[in-house]
């Protein structure tokens, strides 16, 4: 059966010229471009996802994430460039790609009048999985995503989060070599988001399959993805591991949350300190300051404060450097682009559902 594929690493043909030796990529986009009339949705996109990797496609709404995913699946034809997914060109042989790639569309829908189980069974039949094998697999998947209890209830009774989990089970029915999840956490409550992210992380570990995940929410991408591609107005403006991206922004600053004991106000001292860039009060916590220091400067700041006679009771380097990079890159890209960028961009390119943003 075609869906019982070997590990993607072996499933691939010879590596493309220039591909990294460590396992041929399971997803490979080369100069992928999509235009709708005069509007460019995706421009000259080149990236790859290697076996076993969780790759995050991060970008604001309208950046072209969904368009990219549709091109990878052979659901829409690129205007230029090419893609290879599990070694197959999706434009040439979309069926083979669809046989081996599980896909969770953004805002996935189900046949509401059918049960969750019946919906998955339909997918299994469309994939020509023998009924008996499918039944066992579906039972296992429903249990995996925590829907075993409601498996025989109509999907119309499911909550948004349950539907999303059913969608992930649905994408796994064909036992795919690659999983593509388009905005899997959108419009879920925080609990639902956490469930889905945990599920994705577990699937990545258990199955060892490559996962491509798109999101406009940075913290979610950060939570599960090994590598991230930052996408803006149809272009990939940066890609790499979270660490690499953070390093790329070498000149970047860290933001340190600071509170000192005894009602002392270190603002004056901080302003005069050479290693400190900028000081403001933290809108989220009264009496707390936000101090901008050179990257990695948090530790020396603590020492300097103590030396200057202050007693820091709270000092935390905010882990939002990727966020900062993201913002900077997006704003830089927005400044470079004369016109034709999405209207809803760069004002707030990164709506975060976390209460505490970077400012």
């Amino acid at each position: 059966m075609a869906s019982a594929t070997p590990l993607p690493a072996e499933a691939d043909g010879p590596a493309a010229p220039g591909a990294r030796p460590a396992g041929a990529p399971v997803i490979e986009a080369i100069g992928l471009t999509k235009r709708y009339g005069r509007r460019t949705a995706v421009e000259d996109l080149t990236f790859e996802v290697r076996p076993g990797e969780v790759f995050g496609l991060l970008g604001p709404n309208g950046a072209g994430k969904t368009t990219t995913v549709l091109m990878l699946l052979g659901l829409t034809e690129p205007t230029a460039g090419r893609a290879r997914v599990v070694g197959v060109d999706p434009t040439r042989d979309p069926l083979e790609v669809k046989r081996r790639v599980g896909y969770l569309p953004d805002s996935v829908g189900f046949y509401d009048g059918l049960s969750g189980r019946a919906n998955l069974a339909y997918t299994a039949r469309l994939n020509r999985i023998p009924a008996r094998e499918a039944a066992g697999r579906i039972d296992g998947l429903l249990a995996r995503v925590g829907l075993a209890d409601v498996a025989d209830e109509r999907v119309e009774t499911y909550s948004r989060g349950m539907r999303q989990r059913l969608g992930i089970a649905d994408a796994l029915v064909k036992d795919p070599a690659v999983l593509i999840l388009d905005e899997p956490t959108v419009s879920l409550d925080p609990e639902g988001v956490a469930e889905i992210l945990a599920l994705i992380a577990r699937i990545a570990v258990e199955r060892g399959i490559a996962i491509l995940l798109s999101s406009h929410l940075l913290d979610q991408v950060q939570a599960v993805c090994g590598r991230v591609g930052i996408f803006y107005a149809g272009r990939l403006i940066a890609a790499g591991t979270v660490v690499e991206l953070a390093a790329r922004g070498g000149a970047a600053d860290d933001v340190v949350e600071l509170a000192v004991a005894g009602g002392a106000d270190p603002t004056g001292w901080l302003r005069s300190a050479p290693s400190v860039g900028d000081v403001s009060s933290d809108p989220a916590a009264p009496g707390r300051l936000l101090v901008r220091v050179a990257a990695g400067g948090g530790a020396s700041l603590a020492a300097d404060l103590v030396a200057a006679g202050f007693a820091p009771v709270h000092l935390r380097v905010r882990e939002d450097r990727l966020d900062a990079i993201y913002r900077r890159l997006v704003h830089a890209a927005a400044a470079d682009l004369p016109a034709g960028r999405p209207a809803d961009a760069p004002g707030d390119p990164l709506p975060s559902h976390r209460g505490e943003g970077s400012r």
Partner: protein, 353 residues
């Protein structure tokens, strides 16, 4: 917008199912592999699911009940007439078929009722075929499975036709049974065959409307718009088809005063009328259920006149089939055109709304 990949534009039907694809294959083999692509059976899976949906659907039962009530009324009142007149030599060759073709004022004939409601059957099972999947947001998920796009349209068409055929056969069998009990005269084999052929003809006619409604469901994102457009065509053809044909014929070939002019006008009008599936179906119905019908329109009338007017000419079943053959072919052609339109439009559409 560009045509979507996954279309059947590339060869596929004559292709052999390939065994499990080898795990490793050289890059250069990709174009060649398209030649050994296995045929898709996706349409069967789609059809099976859709048929099950239809058979459990409210709309099927509503339509079946409406048809049954109308049918029983027609058959019952006609059987009343037949019982009253059975002693006389009636004009009907077959009392059994007369049950279906005869109207007992004010109730129209059963075939007239079915002819009127048949488009509704087709529209009911087709108007939300594709836009329904869009509205439910199931379309991207469906098309991400290893099936072709036309598998979706084909499967839904087949399922709709099956549902319609089920309703029609059930209703016709039911009212035929009632009619038989009422008149107490068993039908001949030929009568039964003619009735069965008529049901088949009706399924073909409904097929046209199903195909057209399916096209609407592709072309219009909202089910309401789709249904409205399909119903507009139905009402338009039924109410204004003849009027339109007359207008156009008078414009292109004015009736004039000579009989040649008038004949030309009449011929053109009849030709135009035959562009309507409605006319085609009504003509075919008459000929298949009434062996005395030897042709249609002015030419048939002229022919029988010149032959010395033998009103008692009665066609055998094969002869009747021959008479309706052009009508059936035209109906099928119209269906294929509608279906092709639906298919091509769908292929060129984006997956997402």
């Amino acid at each position: 917008m560009s045509a979507a990949p996954g279309s059947r534009i590339r060869p596929r039907r004559a292709l052999r199912p390939s065994p499990e694809p080898p795990p490793a294959r050289p890059r250069s083999a990709a174009p060649a592999r398209a030649e050994e692509r296995p045929p898709s059976h996706g349409w069967r899976v789609v059809a099976a699911k859709e048929t099950a949906d239809h058979l459990g659907s409210v709309r099927l039962y509503v339509l079946a009940v409406v048809l049954t009530i109308a049918g029983v009324a027609a058959i019952y009142s006609m059987s009343q007439v037949i019982r009253g007149a059975a002693a006389d030599a009636t004009g009907y060759r077959s009392l059994f078929l007369a049950l279906f073709t005869g109207g007992a004022d004010p109730v129209p004939a059963f075939v007239t009722l079915v002819g009127f409601l048949a488009p509704l059957l087709g529209i009911a099972f087709g108007f939300d075929a594709v836009n329904g999947e869009r509205a439910d947001r199931t379309l991207p998920r469906l098309l991400a499975q290893p099936i072709y796009r036309d598998d979706v349209v084909n499967g839904k068409f087949v399922a709709g036709l099956l549902a319609v055929a089920t309703v029609l056969v059930a209703v016709v069998a039911f009212v035929a049974g009632i009619g038989l009990i009422r008149i107490g005269i068993p039908p001949t084999v030929e009568d039964v065959v003619r009735l069965v052929l008529w049901v088949a003809l009706t399924v073909v006619y409904v097929g046209f409307w199903l195909a057209f409604a399916t096209f609407c469901s592709v072309a219009f994102r909202r089910a309401a718009s789709s249904a409205l457009v399909a119903i507009a065509l139905w009402i338009g053809l039924t109410l204004f088809g003849v009027l339109l044909a007359t207008l156009v014929a008078n414009l292109l070939s004015p009736p004039g005063s000579t009989s040649a002019d008038q004949l030309a006008n009449l011929r053109l009008r009849e030709t135009l009328e035959r562009l309507s599936p409605d006319t085609l179906y009504l003509q075919a119905t008459r000929a298949i259920l009434d062996p005395r019908v030897t042709g249609f329109g002015i030419d048939a009338a002229l022919a029988s006149q010149s032959q010395g007017a033998l009103p008692s000419t009665v066609l055998s079943l094969p002869q009747s089939v021959l008479v309706v053959w052009p009508q059936v072919v035209a109906l099928v052609a119209l269906t294929v055109v509608s279906f092709g339109l639906a298919y091509v439009t769908f292929l060129r559409q984006e997956v997402r709304a």
